[in-house]
């Protein structure tokens, strides 16, 4: 009888397409927005994630997330180094700086200053050049997307010059640093040079990056640092979540994405529900004839569920395919959406949501079929 159910469904092409469109639309909206949301939230903490060597971040006790940090005292670095369980600790400078190309293009960059000796925190994804060359005078590393923003359409080339806060800077390496939330360009340079670029007051130390000694957990060492120094110390993972949580709780981003997702679900249920209801209503006589001829309610419900399942699978497949192509093509570097991807668990979650949409949409229809009086076929 499954064949009968499918022939009934495909036989009504207009409604079948309407149903598949409804599910596909909802899936596309929910998956695309869900993926964007996850990408955006991940991006808020990309600077933390890109620093792979350190597993502890030490910062001002008041700091709420990575982008609001009051500088530490220079002496704090030594205090952190003195805490038992700390394998090493290095300074990390983070600020925003105006950049200008020689032909006058201006933009804003995230300037990251790395420990002069070790360059800890530099991007591990080097597209062109060598990070060791950062030790040369005026040397900086710039991310590929930032490079293409400053010199659109031009080939990657080392030795290019630009002005960083009116100081000369020369590109010696081009990196694949993860896109940051607050700036379009990411520049790495040694710590002391970063201070030359942006002379400020006495205190310039944004963060101390540290690593837990072997056999110690970052969280435990972070607690020891906090206890000994009175500073705020968090494991990289905790700091990443603290930052993401801040954006989740304190910005309208989750609400605006959430609204679109809810809208997708509601519109999906509405389109699919109305169309399915129409489909079932129009075929009520056929269901009635089958019922009169002795098809049990259970099998009849099975037929309707099969019809719904096929619609759900087709729609979900198309919607997911469209969303996946969006993430495939729209997020190519150096575009603004670079680094965004569709996590498998967003797709899986949306599969559950689609099943829910289809089930809810079919609810009224199933009821109609169940209460249907087979005697209508004699009318």
């Amino acid at each position: 009888m499954a064949v009968v159910a499918l022939r009934m469904l495909f036989g009504d092409r207009a409604k079948y397409l309407g149903l598949v469109f409804g599910v596909a639309f909802a899936t596309l909206l929910v998956t695309q927005q869900g993926g964007m949301f996850v990408g955006l939230m991940t991006r808020t903490a990309s600077v933390i994630e890109d620093v792979r060597e350190a597993d502890i971040w030490v910062m001002d006790p008041q700091a709420l997330y990575i982008d609001t940090v009051r500088a530490l005292r220079d002496t704090d670095l030594g205090r952190v180094r003195g805490v038992p369980g700390v394998a090493w600790a290095v300074p990390f400078y983070k600020a925003s700086a105006p950049v200008k190309t020689l032909d006058g293009r201006i933009d804003n960059a995230l300037l990251l200053g790395l420990d002069d000796a070790t360059l800890i925190g530099v991007s591990h994804d080097v597209k062109l050049g060598r990070v060791e060359d950062l030790r040369q005078p005026d040397a900086i590393a710039i991310d590929e997307a930032g490079y293409l923003r400053l010199w659109p359409g031009e080939k990657l080339r080392l030795g290019r010059e630009l002005e960083l806060n009116d100081h000369r800077a020369m590109v010696v390496a081009i990196t694949g640093a993860s896109a940051a939330f607050t700036a379009n360009i990411i520049i790495h340079t040694p710590y002391t040079r970063a201070l030359d670029y942006l002379p400020q007051g006495r205190d310039t130390l944004s963060f101390v990056l540290a690593r837990a000694a072997p056999g110690q957990t970052p969280a435990a060492v972070a607690r020891a640092i906090a206890a000994r120094t009175g500073l705020q110390a968090l494991s990289s993972a905790d700091f990443r979540w603290k930052t993401i949580d801040y954006y989740l709780a304190k910005t309208g981003i989750p609400i605006s994405f959430g609204l679109v997702i809810v809208l997708g679900v509601v519109v999906g249920i509405a389109i699919v529900g109305l169309t399915f209801n129409m489909f079932v209503a129009e075929n009520l006589r056929q269901y009635g004839a089958l019922k009169a001829m002795g098809l049990s309610d259970l099998r009849l419900v099975g037929l309707v569920l099969l019809q719904g399942t096929v619609v759900g699978l087709m729609g979900f497949g198309i919607g997911l395919g469209l969303a996946a192509s969006f993430f495939e093509f729209a997020t190519q570097p150096p575009g603004a959406l670079r680094g965004f991807s569709l996590p498998w668990w967003v797709a899986a979650g949306d599969a559950g949501l689609t099943a829910l949409i289809v089930l809810l949409a079919m609810f009224a229809s199933l009821r109609r079929v169940l209460v249907l009086d087979p005697a209508i076929v004699f009318r």
Partner: protein, 233 residues
């Protein structure tokens, strides 16, 4: 005569209060195996209600209905559904073919409901369609068939699972005179068998001649039953 369908004092009312309609007012009626019984009477007299009850689709308020010895009152909802699937063949005025299925597939549905494979069901349906003169139309869809052809597909569907009871509600009402006569002739030919009862509801006097027995109904009751010599038809 071998009694196949035995109704005793069956009553059925629809609605309540002012809207209450007493459709059946104590119907006592029998149909024999090996015969075609016509149930005739003016519109609204309760014919459809009566055969719906006989076919196990409607529960009477009172009275008993036995079909080949089985007391329908004693059957649960599920058993009634199974009874319809196995023992009853239906022909409706509105044909009620599934538009997305071919003639063969439509005729094979009762076998599919009973669990036969598609191949077996289609094969048996095809044999019957051939006998109904539809060999050339087996793969057509209902909207590619004339009314008479559609009703012949419906007759094949009513007979394909060899039910003990065949009920037809106004089978010629949607057909022109000639197609109606042809459909009735085929129905008589193929449906009437020694071990089967065929009940045809109609108010079309042009087909009375096909009956072995005619039960006249009026206002929810059987008024009288006349025996016919169907061979004279």
């Amino acid at each position: 005569m071998a009694i196949a369908v035995d109704c005793h004092d069956v009553t059925k009312a629809f609605g309540t209060g002012d809207a209450r309609v007493q459709a059946l007012r104590g119907v006592t009626f029998a149909a024999a195996a090996g015969e075609m019984t016509l149930l005739v009477g003016p519109s609204g007299c309760g014919k459809t209600t009566l055969i719906s009850a006989i076919a196990g689709m409607l529960t009477p308020d009172a009275g008993s209905i036995a079909v080949f010895g089985a007391d329908l009152r004693k059957l649960s909802r599920g058993k009634l559904t199974a009874f319809r699937a196995k023992s009853v063949g239906f022909v409706f005025q509105q044909f009620n073919l599934l538009p997305a299925l071919t003639a063969t597939e439509n005729a094979s549905i009762p076998l599919r409901i009973l669990g036969a494979s598609a191949g077996e069901a289609n094969r048996r349906a095809a044999v019957l369609l051939d006998r109904l003169g539809l060999a050339a139309h087996r793969d057509r869809f209902p909207d590619q068939l004339s009314g008479g052809q559609q009703q012949r597909v419906a007759i094949a569907r009513a007979l394909v699972h060899e039910p003990q009871l065949v009920v037809c509600d106004e089978p010629t009402a949607s057909l022109d005179a000639q197609s109606g006569q042809a459909a009735m002739a085929l129905l008589r030919d193929l449906a009437v068998r020694a071990d089967r009862a065929v009940i045809v509801v109609t108010h079309d006097s042009r087909i009375f001649s096909f009956a072995d027995r005619i039960a006249h109904m009026a206002d929810g009751r059987i008024e009288n039953v006349s025996i016919q010599d169907a061979e004279a038809a």
